[in-house]
């Protein structure tokens, strides 16, 4: 008989109640309903992830979520939401979620390119697609994760995008997820992107607060990319409330001779846990996962990823850069699995962190699980302070210390940003990095390590 841990915390009990109250109205046919039930049963057995679980060791969700906020259940198009959308500089097809619910009236649906289909996740969940539950489940390496399980159980909406075979997008598809944020709410959204054979394009995800109230956000995006596709995913989390707790899962199943790249920038956020579950489903593909985390005050940024080399001849690269000031905490946990027959795998994983103060913390945990014998895999993890010699060199040329530090930090972050392929998006990302550094420079904050 399985041992069932009773759910103890207030948040866990509230989640049970919320699920019981809302499951009848959450969208989905019988298969989706079963998916939700199974996921929630897992949650009921295990509870919120906590520090005694290795994969959640440094981000204890049980402690962070003292209370589960009420589920957001409607689109609140506030003036702040509209204002933020007006400011947003990203070009391309814009698909807007407000509090996790697709808002077609705010989206640019007249700009859907040929060969691309868009529907809301709620619509897709009630469709008769036979492969729906398989797509939603994503790579098996994410199946045990309780953060993701809660999303599966409670996902309300999102977008379901399909790019047809051979279609090359000229402009990115931008999924903007805004928290209207006048009240504290819990948001569960999931989006799906299917890329057909040889399809190429960029998907940009923006997760921001338009309002002032802290949110509990649990988002997921699922990619299934076919053979010879080239898909780039960029996530920007640059305007969140400090008390917001955000869990973002990225699930990707990548076909043969394909390229899949993801880049994420976290800056000016609260607590962000990003988890990537990535699977090579076909041979001769390349996967790149990269990101920059800029944290300060008591902010917390966790990147936990599992890359599953299930087939031979896969190339994977991970590069994460963390700059941590104040009393902030950075986490990187990267696991690369090479299955027994996945010969000729080429894997390289790097996480570099710069600590700006004695109060800042970084946890780096790279892991390789290699069961094949003809592979090239490496990892490097560093935690350091700003190089004093570099600083002196710049200062000896007349740059005041805050400016010299900003230049060194910008260069440090830039090594990951340069992998963003779309030039406009890359410039936007770099501008966000610079503005974070400028704010630090303006406050005349200098490192004290």
């Amino acid at each position: 008989m399985a041992i069932v841990t009773p759910l103890k915390t207030a948040a866990e009990q509230q989640l049970v109640q919320q699920y019981a109250d809302s499951k009848a109205e959450l969208p989905g046919g019988p298969a989706v309903r079963k998916l939700r039930e199974d996921a929630f049963a897992g949650f009921e057995a295990k509870g919120l992830p906590h520090r005694r679980l290795e994969s959640w060791r440094y981000t204890d969700l049980r402690t962070l979520l003292r209370e589960a906020r009420p589920l957001a259940d409607g689109v609140a198009v506030t003036a702040a939401v509209k204002a933020r959308l007006d400011e947003l500089k990203l070009e391309g097809l814009r698909l807007v979620l407000v509090d996790g619910v697709f808002a077609p009236e705010l989206s640019t649906l007249n700009a859907i390119p040929e060969g691309v289909s868009v529907q809301s996740l709620a619509e897709a969940l009630v469709s008769a697609r036979e492969d729906l539950t398989r797509i939603l489940a994503g790579p098996s390496v994410g199946n045990d994760d309780m953060g993701l399980a809660l999303n599966t159980a409670l996902m309300r909406d999102g977008v379901f995008v399909a790019i047809a075979d051979g279609v090359e997008l000229e402009q990115p598809i931008v999924i903007v997820s805004l928290a209207s944020g006048e009240e504290e709410r819990a948001v569960f959204h999931r989006s799906v992107v299917l890329a057909g054979q040889g399809a190429k394009g960029s998907i940009i995800e923006v997760s921001e607060a338009a309002g002032t109230a802290a949110q509990q956000i649990n988002g997921a995006i699922v990619f299934e990319t076919a053979d010879e596709s080239e898909i780039q995913h960029v996530r920007l989390v640059t305007r969140q409330q400090g008390a917001t707790v955000e869990v973002q899962s990225l699930l990707a199943t990548v076909g043969a001779h394909a390229k899949f790249d993801s880049f994420a920038l976290v800056a000016n956020a609260g607590t962000v846990r990003q988890q990537h579950f990535i699977r090579f489903a076909g041979e001769h593909s390349e996967i790149g996962l990269r990101g920059v985390n800029l944290i300060n005050k008591t902010q917390h940024s966790d990147v936990t990823l599992i890359v599953d080399h299930e087939v031979p001849h896969g190339i994977s690269r991970e590069l994460f850069k963390t700059i941590a000031g104040g009393e902030s905490t950075g986490v990187f946990q990267g696991k690369v699995i090479v299955r027994p027959h996945a010969q000729k795998t080429d894997g390289g994983m790097k996480s570099n962190a710069l600590l700006l103060n004695d109060g800042a913390t970084m946890f780096n945990k790279p892991e390789l699980e290699i069961f094949a014998d003809d592979v090239v895999c490496g990892h490097g993890a560093t935690v350091a302070q700003i190089d004093g010699e570099q600083l002196f060199y710049l200062m000896a040329r007349g740059l005041p210390r805050p400016q010299a530090e900003a230049l060194v930090l910008q260069a440090f972050a830039g090594e990951a940003v340069e992998f963003v392929a779309d030039e406009n998006v890359r410039e936007l990302v770099m501008a966000e990095v610079e503005s974070w550094l400028k704010a630090r420079e303006a406050a005349s904050e200098v490192s004290t390590v």
């Binding site: 002196f392 060199y393 710049l394 200062m395 000896a396 007349g398 210390r401 400016q403 060194v408």
Partner: protein, 285 residues
């Protein structure tokens, strides 16, 4: 043990005598009218250690003067250059460094740069991710800002860089790369002189600029430096070898040993040292 030379011992045991002679020589030359850099009784140790490197050093460099400092390994030459430029790893226990009469020891490195001090590094730092042009512009504008001047317009900036780069044989390609990353030793040194030319400092310190240079690169770098010689610009050329001084001919030569200037003379002193070596200065203290 190294041979004991009485005359030098006199200099050492009485730094003031050295200083007096040193000044007398300068006064005799008569074409320097004003002091650019004056270092008085400088005592310096490494900040985190008990190791004292400079032991009451005195040195004067006048306007437009090219002063060479020669000395054996470990005599404190590089430390002197770092302390003048404002590196933090050292603790000044005593003495003063005056630039145009103003004590620079209270200033941060960037303020010293704005005041006119420029250190050409022995080992210029590689800064991955910082484009050379971005860096040059930031440096020029930071100094302009410190002096209350407007920022450079981009076309003026590019023109200034291109013109200075041409003179030093610096290819455009180098300017497009990250600062000093993948540069050869010679390229790095040329980049230092390019910065010197663009920032037009009044007190230039060249720390072993000849190290790692082949004859051709040495000539190009020396020509670059010579082109910058001016009445209102002084140089402190730190080197092990006479070789560099064939190209950058100094007005005065100072011998440094054990953290002090132990002998001062004209350019012929460098030739003498090349023949006799530093052995006689080695056990100075």
């Amino acid at each position: 043990m190294v041979g004991f030379v009485p005359t030098i011992h006199v200099f050492l045991s009485n730094a003031q005598v050295v200083d007096a002679r040193h000044r007398a020589e300068h006064d005799a030359a008569e074409h320097w009218t004003r002091t650019m850099l004056e270092i008085r009784n400088l005592v310096v140790k490494i900040a985190d250690e008990d190791k004292q490197i400079l032991n009451g050093l005195n040195l004067t460099v006048n306007d437009g003067e090219v002063a060479a400092i020669m000395g054996p390994n470990g005599s404190g030459k590089s430390t002197l250059s770092y302390v003048i430029a404002g590196k933090e790893d050292y603790e000044v226990l005593d003495g003063e460094i005056l630039l145009n009469g103003e004590n620079v020891l209270e200033m941060e490195a960037d303020q010293r740069a704005a005041a006119g001090i420029f250190l050409a590094f022995q080992y210029p730092l590689e800064i991955p991710g910082v484009a050379t042009m971005t860096f040059l512009k930031a440096a020029m504008n930071a100094q302009r800002k410190a002096r209350g001047e407007d920022e450079l317009l981009t076309p003026d900036f590019i023109k200034a860089v291109n013109s200075a780069a041409d003179k030093l044989g610096i290819a455009k390609d180098m300017l497009r790369r990250p600062l000093n990353v993948g540069f050869s030793g010679g390229e790095k040194k040329r980049m230092e002189i390019l910065q010197m030319a663009l920032l037009s400092p009044s007190m230039c310190i060249l720390d072993e600029t000849d190290s790692g240079l082949d004859i051709d690169a040495l000539r190009i770098v020396a020509e670059g430096v010579n082109a910058l010689r001016a009445k209102n610009r002084s140089f402190l050329v730190i080197t092990h070898y006479q070789r560099l001084l064939d190209h950058i001919v100094p007005d005065t030569v100072h011998v440094m040993s054990n953290g002090r200037i132990v002998k001062t003379g004209g350019k012929e002193l460098a030739l003498e040292l090349e023949k006799s070596g530093y052995a006689s200065y080695g056990e100075a203290a």
